[in-house]
């Protein structure tokens, strides 16, 4: 059997085998064992067969052989013969693939390409009727010709144009259309289409709008967006389409489907951007006349936005190359009806239609400097006239806002002072009105009745825009504005919500970015002058001044000046015998801290100065105060020391390593020689003031890098230091010093104690615990300070996930079962300490906080707590003699639980929910007054769970009914019954009820919380109960509770329904 016959037999079921046969023959041809002529001749008997399938297979054989030949093998003549052969038989299967192979060859030439194209166009009817994949082959061939031999097709002119259009007419397959559109786009852009513009346009426009929806699991991944994009490229490809395209697209705006309108508008934008300006100009007014309805009677906001984009794009195109403004410009003709319409709508600027008019002016005028100029020339003067004659504040205000819109456009066109782009060559047309604007806005801001807050805010915003507009106001004119703002902030009484003052501060902050000099020269002296030398405690006016200064000092120069001025104020205070209230120096430090927090300190050139003036110098002053050698006691106050500590912490963290080592040596000496100040650790009996310096020491310690070598008392090991601090923690009575010592201990154990020495800390922890804890039930009591120390030390170890973490947690839990109620409840409250995010033992301070620590604590504790509570529940039966002594145990566990929950991210809670939910419900059952925080924390946890996951998770645990009843009883205001439900609890409970009826925010799915398809809402059975109970809550004495109840009731009325919506999309 010949190779051909074998090929014909296998080609249908074994492509691989067929390919190998062809390759073998190709090798024979190559090695001259047989000739190409022989191969062609061997086809003889088949290619004239009546059976089209057989003919196709035979041609495929030849194609397969050619494909297997090396690219340079065929001679020009051979290619020519083969091309003619294939072209003649193009209607046979396999010929198209053969041609595609041939046209890739180097020796394939223009004349051949033309021949192939000719063959395709002649047989378009047969080709059209083929299957999708075969049509795809034809388009691919055409596309390849377009890429490799475009000149040949181009020279065919109208012939190829019509041929291609004929070929693709009726095509429906998205894959083929993608190719067709890209082939057609080339024709549209490069051919002379003048004879056939309409035919060509119609060939693609027939597909508009595209409503294609890809089938699920579409392997080709073609989306409607892809098709829309290519179609749009075709529609906008040639200006000669305009007479057909633009009216057709505008017609589509009559459609009722917003999606069709959207496609039409997008296509319009493309056309406007690509057609030549003369064409755009010709249709500009027609487009405006149609689009204006889309904007003035906006149906959907995105349609209005797209329409505005079309208008703006037209203005941009018509501005191209415009250097001289004249009213003969096409741009001017286009803008004339627009400004006319807008001016009419703006006659009554406070009415609804003024808004779209403002939008139109805004987007068209921002299109270019020329456009902006033409609009300003026609619009501004009449608006000013209306303003002069305006009879009401509402109208004036609306006009100010309209001007504001134009100022914004001006900023887009001409830039702000800080803008670096080159300026437009056209002068800013607003310059002509500069004095008028300055007057109007100045008067509106400062002249009218002071109570018209919102009016003045509008004026302020407009004035601010003009002040930041590049090269508009002179510095002295902006200075005037700055003075107005100062006056508002310093002289005026607060009114209402104080929006005006907030805006004034924001405006000064904005100006400080553009004109820092003006702020330094005008605002700074005015504000600093109002700061008193000392505060006698009578008033705290200085606070708002400090707040303002802090907010406007983000710029480097201003910041530097602020710090210097404030430090000198502070130093004066520190020298006074009678310095007045300590709040004032504290607030000064706080101001510096606030501004430093806002800035990137590590790049600040003045860092060394701050280190000397604040860290070193003020620490010395603090030790002097502690030893009683200072004129006053400001720096012995805990609150002042705390802020100072934070400030030092912030500065030291940005210092270079060498300076940090210097700080490390001075953690306890605080830069003071030994003869003047004795460090607190190992000091026999320091005074209260002396011990309080530990506040600063703790902040210094926190700021140091973990591997600081120079830490005092750390060699050979830290044990003596740790136990000294521990002893001080237990003995300390002043809360602030106590907190500092506890943090100090935690820092040492968490951050600086080497891993190998961890047992020192655990040993220390054991000495604090009573030996009896685990072994016997003997009553043991621990003083609160000891409990506190235990928990802080545990925190330090747990956060770094020390090897004994589980053991430590079990021990802590055992404290709750202490027969002594005080020990038990105090320990319960201390559980918050464990995972609470502390500001000192924190990641920015380099604390060793492992990512899994929270999860570890939670998953260890929850099962243990749950078991213990169940034990207690069953044990409190009448025959148990010790029942009365253990009633505090259950509340203690619930308190501890709420403490842990409040510090755990909700995502960790979810897996444990089935265990956790019964405990939470029991927490809600607590009724005593001191259980309020526990219940509040429980409600917070519940609300997060419900908000993120919806009612489903509660339903899955089977607790909907019991949860709802408890929430309702917590929501009740019933002073008569003795239940203590504070307003906060009532609001919390109602909020949970509200969230139950909402769609959960966490799930991305659109499944409503309430009724999933086919199933009834789990809330339905309690709906009536909830609605009835909430009816009484509507009469709660507290407004916030009533508000929450109104919202919850509305949510249940609206959201909880018998049947799922029929069409929820």
């Amino acid at each position: 059997m010949s190779a051909l016959q074998t090929f014909l037999l296998v080609v249908d079921h074994d492509k691989q085998e067929a390919k190998q046969i062809a390759e073998r023959i190709a090798q024979d041809v190559e090695s001259k064992k047989t000739s190409l002529i022989d191969v062609v001749q061997s086809l003889g008997e088949y290619i004239n067969d009546d059976d089209a399938i057989l003919r196709g297979k035979a041609v495929s054989y030849l194609t397969a052989v050619i494909r297997a030949l090396p690219p340079k093998f065929l001679s020009r003549q051979q290619i020519q013969v083969l091309t003619t052969f294939f072209s003649d038989r193009i209607e046979d299967g396999g010929a198209v693939a053969g041609l595609e192979t041939l046209q890739k060859l180097d020796r394939f030439n223009k004349a051949l390409a033309e021949e192939v194209a000719q063959a395709i166009f002649e047989h378009f009817q047969e080709l059209q009727s083929r299957s999708q994949s075969q049509r795809f082959q034809v388009y691919t061939l055409l596309n390849e010709l377009m890429i490799n031999h475009r000149a040949a097709l181009h020279d065919m002119g109208d012939h190829s144009l019509v041929g291609i259009v004929d070929l693709m007419t009726g095509e429906k397959d998205p894959r083929n259309l993608m190719l067709v559109f890209s082939i057609l786009k080339v024709v549209m852009m490069e051919w002379d289409v003048s004879n056939h513009a309409e035919v060509l346009f119609d060939s693609v426009y027939n597909y508009f709008p595209i409503t294609f929806k890809p089938p699920p699991n579409d392997p080709y991944g073609i989306t409607a967006v892809d098709l829309k994009g290519r179609l749009q490229d075709c529609i906008s490809a040639n200006s000669q389409f305009a007479p057909h395209a633009i009216p057709a697209l505008l017609d589509k705006l009559d459609s009722t489907s917003p999606n069709v309108k959207k496609d039409a508008l997008n296509a319009l934008i493309a056309c406007v951007k690509l057609y030549d300006p003369n064409t755009v100009s010709k249709y500009s007014i027609t487009i405006w006349e149609t689009l204006k309805f889309e904007i003035l009677n906006a149906q959907e906001e995105f349609l209005s936005d797209l329409s505005l984009e079309v208008l703006s794009a037209i203005a941009q195109r018509l501005s191209e190359g415009v250097t001289q403004i004249s009213d003969q410009l096409p741009l001017a003709q286009y803008l004339r009806p627009i400004t006319k319409e807008c001016s009419e709508q703006l006659q009554e600027p406070q009415q609804k239609q003024a808004k779209p008019a403002q939008l139109i002016l805004s987007s068209v005028s921002a299109a270019s400097a020329a456009s902006f100029t033409l609009i300003v020339q026609t619009v501004v003067a009449p608006l000013l006239t209306i303003y002069q004659g305006a009879d009401g504040i509402a109208k004036q205000r609306a006009l100010l806002e309209t001007f504001g819109v134009l100022f914004n456009a001006a900023i887009q066109v001409f830039g702000e002072w800080t803008t670096r782009d080159p300026e437009p060559t056209i002068d800013n047309p607003l310059l002509e009105f500069k004095d008028q604007f300055s007057d109007i806005f100045g008067q509106a801001l400062m002249g009218v009745i002071k109570e018209e807050g919102s009016f003045r805010v509008s004026a302020l915003k407009g004035f601010l825009r003009l002040s930041t507009l590049r090269n508009y106001f002179q510095d002295n004119e902006i200075g005037l504005f700055v003075q107005y703002l100062d006056e508002i902030l310093l002289k005026e009484e607060s009114v209402g919500r104080d929006d005006l003052k907030k805006e004034a501060i924001a405006a000064l902050t904005e100006i400080s970015k553009h004109k820092p000099r003006l702020i330094l020269d005008i605002t700074f002296p005015a504000f600093v002058a109002t700061l008193p030398d000392s505060d006698d405690g009578s008033g705290s006016d200085y606070i708002s001044t400090l707040e303002t200064l802090a907010q406007i000092s983000a710029e480097k120069d201003i910041f530097d000046t602020l710090v210097r001025r404030l430090l000198s104020k502070l130093n004066i205070l520190l020298q006074k015998e009678q310095p007045g209230s300590v709040d004032y120096p504290r607030d000064i430090l706080l101001t510096i801290l606030y501004v430093m927090n806002q800035r990137k300190l590590d790049q600040d050139p003045n860092l060394d100065l701050y280190y000397d003036k604040i860290v070193v110098s003020l620490c010395r002053s603090a030790t002097a105060a502690a030893s009683g050698n200072a004129p006053n006691t400001i720096l012995t106050e805990a609150t002042v020391l705390d802020v100072l500590g934070k400030l030092c912490n912030l500065i030291i963290r940005s210092l270079p390593r060498s300076k940090q080592d210097e700080v490390a040596e001075n953690v306890y000496t605080l830069f003071t020689p030994a003869e003047d100040f004795q460090p607190v650790p190992f000091s026999p009996s320091p005074s209260d003031n002396h011990r309080r310096t530990m506040i600063i020491s703790t902040y210094l310690l926190a700021s140091l890098p973990t591997d600081s070598k120079a830490l005092p008392y750390s060699t050979p090991n830290m044990t003596p230091l740790l136990s000294d601090i521990t002893t001080r923690c237990v003995a300390e009575t002043s809360p602030a010093t106590s907190l500092a010592l506890l943090r100090h201990l935690a820092l040492l154990a968490n951050k600086f104690l080497p891993k190998t020495d961890l047992d020192q800390a655990t040993t220390l922890l054991d000495t604090l615990l009573p030996a009896t804890t685990l072994t016997t039930d003997l009553p043991f009591t621990l003083p609160p300070t000891t409990i506190q120390t235990i928990f802080w030390l545990s925190k330090a170890l747990i956060l770094r996930l020390a090897p004994k973490t589980t053991q430590i947690l079990t021990t802590l839990l055992a404290l709750l079962s202490s027969p002594d109620p005080t020990t038990s409840t105090t320990s319960a409250r201390a559980f918050t300490i464990l995972l609470h995010d502390d500001n000192v033992l924190s990641v920015p301070n380099g604390a060793n906080i492992r990512l899994l620590s929270k999860q570890r604590v939670f998953t260890t504790l929850i099962p243990l707590m749950s078991t213990r509570i169940r034990e207690v529940n069953t044990a409190t039966s009448p025959q148990e003699p010790t029942a009365s002594t253990t009633t505090h145990i259950k509340p203690a566990h619930l308190t501890a639980l709420s403490g842990i929950l409040s510090t755990i991210p909700p995502s960790l809670v979810m897996p444990e929910l089935p265990t956790l939910l019964p405990l939470l419900l029991q927490s809600l059952d607590l009724q005593s007054a001191d259980s309020t925080p526990v219940r509040a924390a429980t409600l917070d946890t519940l609300s997060v769970i419900i908000r993120d996951n919806g009612v489903r998770v509660i339903d899955d645990c089977g607790h909907v009914q019991s949860l709802v009843s408890r929430l309702l009883s917590t929501a009740e205001h019933a002073p008569a019954s003795g239940a203590v439900n504070t307003p906060r609890l009532r609001v919390g409970a109602i909020k949970c009820l509200f969230l139950l009826a909402q769609v959960p925010s966490g799930s991305g799915s659109d499944a409503p919380a309430v009724a999933k398809a086919g199933t009834l809402s789990p809330l339905l059975s309690v709906k009536n109960q909830v609605l009835r109970a909430l009816l009484f809550v509507l009469d709660d004495p507290k407004r916030d509770v009533r508000k929450a109840a109104v919202d919850a009731r509305a949510a249940w009325l609206r959201g909880v329904d018998d049947a799922p919506d029929e069409n929820d999309d």
Partner: protein, 202 residues
């Protein structure tokens, strides 16, 4: 909104100018005087009770504040109805001045019985134009909102403000007629419109 709008260009009040309740500053509380921008910078300093294990001593135990009654007043009614959307525009009734604070009144229903807690809320509606056929729908919306949001001891009376509507009497009759209101609320299309209006309520 397919049919032509009744009033396509009403005047709109600025949201900032609408009456709101001004909450008094949390004044006079020692230890919590920081309300300004420094509050976050200053966290946890003055109030170490977060960490202390002594009983939670926070504002929560402030019994005076908790026991102070805040009776339902006109502003509260205004807040309930002013955020309802107009059926024609996506704008609130407050911004369109359809409802306004001076046109809301709470009176004892039975002045002759001094101890009675029953109150009547009267809300007067000002349609944006005098021939607005949607006035009834707006009135109904206000009524539904109040009946859903007020305790049972409140009687709701919604009426068109005198001289602001050409067929005010007719509309008032409809709004006051319990039977007709109930019948209207059975009407699915009408309830759909009202539900849409109430969606924006805050």
């Amino acid at each position: 909104m397919e049919s032509a709008m009744q009033n396509s260009n009403p005047t709109i009040l600025n949201i900032a100018d609408l009456p709101t309740r001004l909450y008094p500053e949390p004044s006079g509380k020692s230890g919590t005087r920081r309300v300004g921008i420094f509050a976050s910078t200053d966290s946890s300093v003055a109030d170490p009770s977060n960490f202390a294990v002594s009983p939670y001593a926070s504002a929560e135990s402030d019994d005076d504040v908790n026991l102070m009654e805040e009776p339902i007043d006109e502003q509260e009614i205004y807040d309930l109805v002013s955020t309802i959307s107009d059926p024609e525009h996506p704008i609130s009734l407050g911004a369109l001045a359809v409802v306004s604070l001076p046109d809301i009144e709470i009176t004892p229903t039975l002045p002759e019985v001094p101890g009675s807690l029953v109150r009547t809320v009267t809300v007067l509606i000002t349609p944006t134009i005098t021939h607005c056929s949607l006035a009834t729908v707006i009135g109904l919306g206000v009524r539904v909102r109040l009946e859903q949001s007020l305790p049972p001891r409140f009687r709701v009376d919604v009426r068109i403000k005198e001289g602001t509507h050409s067929t005010a009497e007719e509309v008032n009759k409809q709004l006051a007629d319990k039977e007709r209101v109930a019948a209207a609320l059975e009407n699915g299309t009408l309830m759909g419109v009202i539900a849409k209006m109430l969606e924006t309520c805050q």
